[in-house]
């Protein structure tokens, strides 16, 4: 492979169902249901997806949900705040483990 990531692969996402069609069908049916308007709006769900995309650092998802967020009416301010939510949780997750570090350090230190 010349590149681990290729932007044209995003359009081929559904091909993942080729070798396991039933699992693919179930996944995409579930996926579409998740993103349909519900107690949360499509716009809100796209913003959550955008934040998660940054947390899992998936370039395909960032491409897809940047577009989706704009299409569904969000602006750059809202999208940037969503990315900060991801950053805060990722940063917080690292930092809160510092408690574990402190507990152990204190236990084994004189």
């Amino acid at each position: 492979m010349s590149n681990y990531y290729d932007s044209s692969d995003l359009a081929k996402f559904r091909e993942i169902g080729k070798a396991a069609p039933e699992l693919g069908r179930k996944f995409f049916e579930y996926y579409n249901a998740v993103f349909a308007e519900g107690a949360l709006s499509e716009r809100e769900k796209a913003l959550i997806a955008l934040a998660v995309a940054h947390a899992v650092q998936c370039p395909y998802c960032i491409d897809a949900y940047t577009r989706a967020s704009l299409e569904k009416g969000s602006n750059l301010e809202q999208m940037t705040e969503a990315v900060h939510v991801a950053a805060a949780i990722k940063g917080g997750a690292a930092l809160v483990h510092g408690v574990q570090m402190r507990t152990l350090a204190e236990k084994i230190s004189m």
Partner: protein, 355 residues
């Protein structure tokens, strides 16, 4: 987004894309995008033909108080092409000759800036026609137009108004600084006269419908979902009401085409439209029941064809002066690569999504 707002029209700047021929050449050969007519045929559909004429859409001129970045008309304060009263009279004669046309849909530019606009509305209403005004909202607060909201209410004109976002920055980025605030103020004026109240259980016949069109090189989101979002946000933050939201796809014409080309988005946008082609939209396309009349009386299958100077099929009357009832029934519709805009995803029309 950081680029300065276009303050002059392409025509005024002498931009190459001011010419329809150059626009057609730019979108005709985008790699990876099949010819539209061929794509229609490949899905087992016959070439597009008209049914019964229901709507006469008149573009009364390119004069406008705004210079929106995406305008497919290249309208603006520096344009001087406006429909004469003589041409409007020819339109009214055509309405009289063709009883199946029940709606007069008036667009521009800012249609209200045509000096004969109110006379045209009165004449159409006196004939019992439903009248739609495609309004930019800010004209209601422009000097010299103080009585416009009262006029609309008195004549029971349906207002279809552009508001591409419920967020000020997105709206202003497309339509000009301060447009969002002025648009909200105009909606308030219309609400005070009874417009836009059907969603609150009041079945009033004063319709205020909004138009969402994307503020960049992307397709519109789901119409119902956007409508719910608009209703909630506009009600909670601005205390204004509307009836329906129509999502309209930006077609690669005139200033939106210039934006696509300048920003390096043309090829990808055309491919996006092409990939989203949905044959299920073909039956409901507005061109099947619409006759589009240009400011100079020339006839087209839609307002987009009008801007690309794609006249109606050769055998048909070319000017509203020559209109004959029945001549357009089953007539071939002229298509081009821009038609991918109306057939992408859930489809697009002057009345919003088709599916």
């Amino acid at each position: 987004m950081s680029k300065p707002l276009l303050l002059r029209t392409l025509a005024r700047e002498g931009h190459p894309l001011a010419r329809a021929e150059a626009q057609r050449a730019t979108i005709d050969h985008v790699p990876g995008v099949a010819a539209f007519a061929e794509r229609v045929r490949s899905t087992g559909h016959t070439a597009l033909r008209r049914g019964v004429l229901r709507v006469m859409q008149i573009n009364v001129g390119k004069l406008c108080n705004q210079t929106c970045k995406h305008c497919h008309v290249d309208a603006g304060p520096d344009r001087r092409e406006v429909m004469t009263w003589a041409t409007m009279e020819a339109c009214l004669r055509a309405l009289d000759a063709c009883p199946t046309i029940t709606t007069l849909d008036i667009t521009g530019g800012a249609p209200e800036m045509n000096p004969h606009f109110q006379a045209l509305v009165r004449a159409a209403r006196a004939r019992g026609k439903h009248v739609i005004d495609r309004c930019n909202l800010t004209i209601l607060a422009a000097p010299g137009y103080a009585g416009l909201a009262d006029f609309f209410a008195e004549q029971r004109v349906e207002i279809v108004a552009s508001l591409p976002s419920v967020l000020a920055d997105r709206t202003d980025a497309q339509r000009g600084d301060g447009v969002f605030e002025k648009s909200i103020a105009a909606m308030r004026l219309l609400n005070e006269r009874g417009y836009g109240r059907s969603s609150g259980g009041n079945p009033g016949d004063l319709r205020l419908n909004l138009v969402y069109n994307p503020t960049g090189a992307f397709l519109p989101g789901n119409q119902a979902s956007l409508e719910a979002d608009y209703r909630r946000t506009l009600r909670e933050r601005h205390a204004v009401e509307f009836d329906r939201l129509y999502t309209i796809t930006n077609l690669p014409i005139s200033r939106f085409l210039e934006y696509l080309e300048r920003s390096g988005n043309l090829q990808e946008y055309m491919r996006q439209l092409h990939a989203a082609f949905n044959p299920a939209t073909l039956d409901g396309l507005m061109c099947r029941e619409t006759l589009s009349v240009g400011w100079d009386g020339r006839l087209f299958d839609c307002d987009f064809n009008q801007m690309l100077e794609l006249a109606v099929d050769g055998a048909l009357p070319r000017h509203i002066d020559q209109f004959v009832d029945g001549a357009f029934a089953e007539a071939a519709i002229v298509t081009g690569q821009h038609c991918y805009g109306c057939t992408a995803g859930s489809g697009s029309s002057c009345g919003g999504a088709l599916l």
